[in-house]
Amino acid sequence: MSPLLTIMTLLLSIAMIGGAWVAIRSFSLPMAILAAGLVSLLASVMFLILAAPDVAMTEAAIGSGLTTFLFFFVLGRVKGGEDD
């Protein structure tokens, strides 16, 4: 276990937590969705570090990519609802 890897993990973790904070508390809903996608993307990097390439690919493609788009499709339809 190289210290470099550990530091990277730590940084990633901090970034993810920050992202998650934005995702749950951000004023703007699109921002929140993007932040959630970002958390997902960072997670997939984490999965790579944790020697799980299959999962990493899936998370990147589905968790961060597809889901985000699903969100935006719906977001585009709910006028005025986003601020409730």
């Binding site: 550990t6 998650a20 749950i24």
Partner: protein, 118 residues
Amino acid sequence: MVLIVMSTGFLLILMGLYGSLTNRNILRMIVSFTVTNTGVNLVLISVGYMPGRTAPILDETVAVSEVAQRIIDPVPQALVLTAIVIGVGVTALMLAYAYRLYETKGTLDISQFTELKW
């Protein structure tokens, strides 16, 4: 390192839950749930991780004979794969529901959908 990832995972779960239980906007709740799901996936993977080993794929670097000493546990990875896909299925469904609810009331505030109670 594993512990860092795992605590991050747990923290994400808690944050996601907090978000989904305090945001009244349905879409925000769903966003929070995706954060939670990511956290769960992180925890799952970190449980299976073993330091100094490689991915459970046989290739040039991992010979069949020494595979048991070289790879990490493949099972959690398989589980997470399934979990991710199921998660996205549920998310999609919730999103569709969110729209349906929005259509009926013109709002996404969960506290407005309380005709059924008691």
